[in-house]
């Protein structure tokens, strides 16, 4: 369990980091290292150079950005976990963060590191897809934005081009009477999920779903949205039986992962149950918030 040899650089800013990336094909960016370091220990990753961006202060922030919240790539997960702006504007993200690893890994792990790593079971990737987040990356001197749905393209594969460094992620905040739900199932607390689900709803004045987003993670190569279920449920009362039917139908044709830990069939069934529960929780949460607001 020892990493192969590599060179180590700690650039002062993003420009220098991008220049270093461009100069070495085998280089990889490291931030908190909570996934990259174990992969290197198992020699699943053998970068020739690590470019440590973790101390670039310009990449660590959480701030309002129009009607959303922008988060710098090296912002520690534990900082986001305790952030009041995220708690207020992005309740789904606030709900999901405690599911990431455990306290000792959230202390070092970063928001951008988890997104760039793109593990199929990553909670942050699921929330990014569910909320239609936008990721910003730099290649050389130019910045590019990409939608979360176009960012995750395979297990641990993203659409980030060679030499790119993720700089920030922006989550849009919903207004109105909203509620959120998040569930996952795993063998033990803090371990990788076999299936996970996130839901955010906005209820109208009479309690119908004005807007709904349902995401499923860990079950397939990368987190997905249940678009068909969302379309079917928008404008309805979100009765549990109807929600279950809708998410089950939406998952019927999804190619789910099959491995030693959980079969494809299990993942499909678990994902449907968790998604239905997440929606039901989101409705209850929205109704609760409404009561508080009155």
């Amino acid at each position: 369990m020892k990493a192969a040899p590599f060179e180590y650089s700690r650039p002062a800013d993003l420009d220098e980091a991008c220049a270093l990336l461009a100069s070495d094909d085998g280089a990889r960016v490291i931030a908190g290292g909570q996934t990259l370091v174990p992969m290197m220990a198992m020699r699943l990753a053998r970068p020739t150079r690590l470019i440590d961006i973790n101390r670039i202060a310009d990449l660590s922030y959480i701030r309002e950005d129009g009607d959303g919240v922008a988060i710098g790539a090296v912002t520690p997960q534990c900082v986001a976990e305790r952030n009041a702006l995220i708690a207020r504007k992005l309740p789904l993200l606030a709900l999901a963060i405690p599911f990431i690893g455990h306290g000792a890994t959230r202390a070092r792990g970063t928001i951008g590191g988890s997104l760039a790593h793109a593990d199929p079971a990553a909670e942050l990737a699921l929330v990014a897809v569910t909320l239609d987040a936008t990721l910003s990356y730099r290649v050389g001197g130019s910045s590019t934005d990409v939608a979360a749905r176009d960012f995750f393209v395979g297990p641990m594969v993203t659409s980030l081009p060679d030499g790119a460094c993720l700089a920030a992620v922006r989550f849009p905040a919903w207004s109105g009477t909203i509620g959120v739900g998040f569930h996952e199932v795993n063998a033990r607390r803090s371990d990788f999920a076999f299936a996970s689900a996130a839901a955010q709803v906005e209820l109208d004045a009479v309690g119908n779903a004005k807007r709904i987003a349902i995401g499923v993670g860990a079950a397939s190569d990368f987190p997905i949205r249940l678009d068909d279920a969302e379309r079917q449920l928008t404008g309805t009362v979100l009765e549990p039986a109807k929600v279950t039917d809708a998410v089950r139908a939406a998952l019927a044709d999804i190619e789910t992962l099959d491995d030693l830990h959980a079969s494809s069939n299990y993942r499909r069934r678990a994902a449907a149950q968790l998604a239905a529960r997440a929606v039901t929780d989101a409705v209850a949460d929205a109704q609760g918030r409404k009561v508080h607001a009155h």
Binding site: M1, F6, Q34, V37, A41, T105
Partner: protein, 164 residues
């Protein structure tokens, strides 16, 4: 490469390969063997140290990444030679350990918890040690020990607050 590490209040200068984990730097270069090498890929928690006061995995960090931060290992938590910290005392009293392999990490995870939360609930204690695997005790006595230590530390004499 040449790095400076601040460990238990002392600054050390060492020459390491960049691939040396903080854990190996502590154990092999500084001979601080209280941080244990268990799984060496971030699962078991036996290598836990305090990094600027917060519990982290020393196997999930390369030594150069730790440069300039304050590291506390189990060797640095006792008030004096031959003494035990309140958490270590409580673990002895409640039989919170058997083989002892996970114990230094449990102590540091508890320190990290109690530093920010002097009166944790049982659930908060469980959450704080949820990343630390113990194959002997079944955890019950460890949880009991942390609750006992928290109670004692809350009741301990503190310097007079002269600001109020």
């Amino acid at each position: 490469m040449h790095i400076k590490l601040s460990v238990n209040g002392e600054t050390h200068e060492l020459d390491v390969e960049p691939r040396t984990t903080l854990l190996d730097a502590l154990r092999d270069h500084l001979r601080l063997t209280g941080a244990h090498a268990g799984c060496e890929h971030g699962v078991c928690g036996a290598c836990t140290v305090l990094f600027d006061g917060v519990a982290v995995r020393s196997c999930l960090m390369f030594a150069p990444q730790a440069e300039g931060s304050a590291i506390t290992t189990i060797e640095g938590v006792t008030p004096g030679p031959g003494e035990l910290s309140p958490i270590q005392d409580a673990l002895c009293e409640t039989h919170g350990m058997q083989c002892g392999y996970c114990t230094p990490a449990m102590v540091l995870a508890a320190h990290s918890l109690l530093a920010g939360n002097p009166d944790p609930t049982r659930e908060e204690i469980v959450e704080a040690i949820s990343g630390n695997i113990c194959r002997c005790t079944g955890y019950a006595q460890i949880i009991e020990a942390i609750a006992l230590a928290a109670e004692r530390m809350r009741g301990a004499n503190r310097p007079l607050d002269r600001t109020s």
